[in-house]
């Protein structure tokens, strides 16, 4: 676990080369959009994984952090003319602060009660934003159209820069997750996942480490939120604060493999293309086919491979050893 095996390094390099080369090889807006959504949700899955996968804090409220990120940078840009890159960090910090505020009173709440508390938190945030005149309530905010360029975090003629930005943000999140997993915090979160009693007995302050986990998770999720706002250029509570986004964070991670570094990426690479393609083909008909395919996939995974796709891959590796 400490050192990456050669095949894992090879896989990382291959994945990186493929992701960097993708927009140069595959032309067209839609494939690029799908990949952007894959990376966006992979990033949010990575963030969710830090708390849900490593420490068994099953949050169903991460969308609140996503929304806080999206709204913070947008409001800063519209009202105070603050550069979105600064908004990106500000959103992260604000979300981390919100996470601390909700995480501290919840630090003793376990398993499904924690999930319920996070749902409640996210719903409170959604309802608040839906009625909050300062952020245009349910009308939502349209971002001002600025000249395109990296400086303004805005591009109109092509999606390719967005592609590379979200790829870089995802890579950053993966590095953070990897770093956590090989240092003390990763060990401590896994101990907390096993049992609070055991963790306490080994001198681990689970209140503190759970708080760290939720704050880091919130920071990364909020960065994804800012990216989304800059990408779509319009946000409202019904697009950036709804429960299905939280659920998606959980799904990509559980499908790919919770508690592993690559799990959320694999999960997103499977789920998001299905989601986007079925949405475009079938979504407008209101049949909910995409959700049915999701449902079926999740049932199959939880019945036959609860460790997720990554768990399946590593179990093959273990068996052949």
């Amino acid at each position: 676990m400490k050192k990456l095996a050669p095949w894992q390094i090879a896989l990382c390099v291959a994945a990186l080369v493929a992701s960097v080369a993708f927009p140069l090889v595959v032309k067209g807006t839609f494939p690029n959009h799908v990949m952007i959504m894959v990376f966006l949700f992979a990033m949010m899955g990575v963030a969710w994984n830090i708390m849900g996968g490593y420490a068994a804090m099953f949050s169903f409220g991460n969308v609140a952090f996503f929304g806080i990120g999206a709204y913070t940078s947008t409001v800063l840009l519209m009202n105070y003319n603050v550069n979105p890159w600064i908004g990106l960090v500000a959103g992260g910090l604000l979300a981390a602060a919100a996470a601390a505020a909700i995480g501290y009173p919840c630090s003793n709440i376990r398993s499904h009660y924690f999930s319920i508390a996070t749902i409640a938190f996210a719903e409170i945030v959604r309802i608040q934003f839906n009625n909050w005149k300062f952020v245009a309530a349910a009308e939502g905010l349209s971002l001002p159209i600025l000249p395109e360029g990296f400086r303004n975090f805005m591009f109109h003629s092509t999606k390719i820069p967005y592609y590379y930005i979200i790829l870089a943000l995802l890579a950053l999140s993966l590095v953070v997750c990897w770093y956590i997993s090989v240092t003390r915090m990763g060990y401590y979160l896994r101990a907390i996942k096993e049992s609070h009693e055991l963790a306490k007995g080994m001198g681990i302050s689970f209140v503190r480490y759970r708080l760290y986990a939720i704050m880091i998770s919130a920071f990364i999720t909020a960065m994804a939120g800012t990216f989304y706002a800059q990408y779509i250029l319009y946000i409202d509570p019904e697009s950036v604060l709804i429960l299905p986004i939280s659920v998606q964070c959980v799904l990509v991670t559980m499908l790919g493999g919770a508690g592993s570094i690559w799990g959320p990426v694999i999960g997103a690479a499977i789920l998001l293309p299905i989601s986007e393609v079925t949405r475009v083909w079938l979504g407008a008909k209101g049949t909910g086919i995409d959700m049915m395919i999701y449902g079926a996939l999740i049932m199959l995974i939880s019945a036959y491979q609860p460790q997720g796709v990554w768990g399946y891959i590593t179990s093959i590796g273990r068996r052949t050893k």
Binding site: V182, T183, R184, R190, A191, E197, K200, G201, M202, G203
Partner: protein, 243 residues
């Protein structure tokens, strides 16, 4: 024996509703000593453990560790001070290897990954688990899990190690092995308190024995004297066998 004892327990009382699990329990543990706490099931041994290690706040009484009042401090802080405990039901981290389990304990004293790993490997050699370091925590035998629990506890560099039934359900050979390990632990300078039902181990290991029945301490003394004590026999076997 040094001037000040390693641990002083003074009048610990713990109630759960109408049930008094511990009532006015007091004893001392000297540095480097092995003290056993015995008593019938439900006597309040585990509750006492929990009160000492910060898992339960006691309703009355005091716990002093090396002269310092630690009563009611939180469990992880008590561990950091140097008191570590294991659990009656074996607890290891199931998705970690044996080595990683011990590393988790060793991270208490340093952030440095390399030092932690080196220390964990050293402890595993000490505990006779080095060959199994890459096995998952769930993939080893009960006897090895009990050794692993001790190894994890040693990772936190304790001054006082408290074992809650570390020897239950072992074969005679396994029992010998763990008794040997605990002797080595004591020789390395760690004080031990063991809660145990396995009398063979209690007799062999302990310097002193504290007997608890219905939440109260009934006797305290050398192991050989304890087993002949009429009150102890009565507590274990009932009135009919009372001499």
């Amino acid at each position: 024996m040094s001037a000040s004892p390693c641990l002083e327990v003074r009048g610990i009382t713990k109630r759960f509703g109408g049930l008094t699990a511990n009532e006015d329990v007091s004893f001392d543990v000297a540095e480097g000593e092995i003290l056993s706490i015995i008593g019938p099931n439900g006597a309040g041994k585990s509750t006492l453990f929990n009160c000492i290690t910060g898992f339960y706040p006691p309703d009355g009484g005091k716990v002093l560790f090396r002269g310092k009042d630690i009563t009611g401090a939180s469990a992880h802080k008590i561990c950091k001070m140097g008191i570590v405990r294991t659990f009656q039901i074996v607890q290891v981290i199931s998705d970690m290897t044996v080595l990683e389990n011990v590393m988790t304990g060793a991270f208490l004293r340093t952030y440095n990954n390399r030092q932690v790993r080196a220390k964990a490997e050293e402890i595993l050699r000490f505990a006779g688990l080095y060959e199994k370091r890459d096995f998952l925590g769930t993939a080893i035998t009960i006897a090895d899990k009990k050794r692993l629990e001790v190894a994890m506890a040693l990772g936190t560099e304790p001054k006082l190690l408290m074992l809650d039934e570390a020897m239950a359900g072992l074969t005679p050979v396994e029992l010998k092995g763990i008794i040997g390990l605990l002797r080595k632990v004591r020789e390395s300078g760690v004080t031990l308190i063991i809660v145990e039902h396995v009398m063979e181990a209690v007799m062999e290991l302990s310097d002193r024995v504290v007997v608890i029945n219905s939440g109260r301490k009934i006797v305290e003394g050398a192991p050989a004297a304890i087993v002949r004590n009429p009150e102890v026999i009565q507590a274990y076997l009932g009135d009919r066998y009372h001499a």
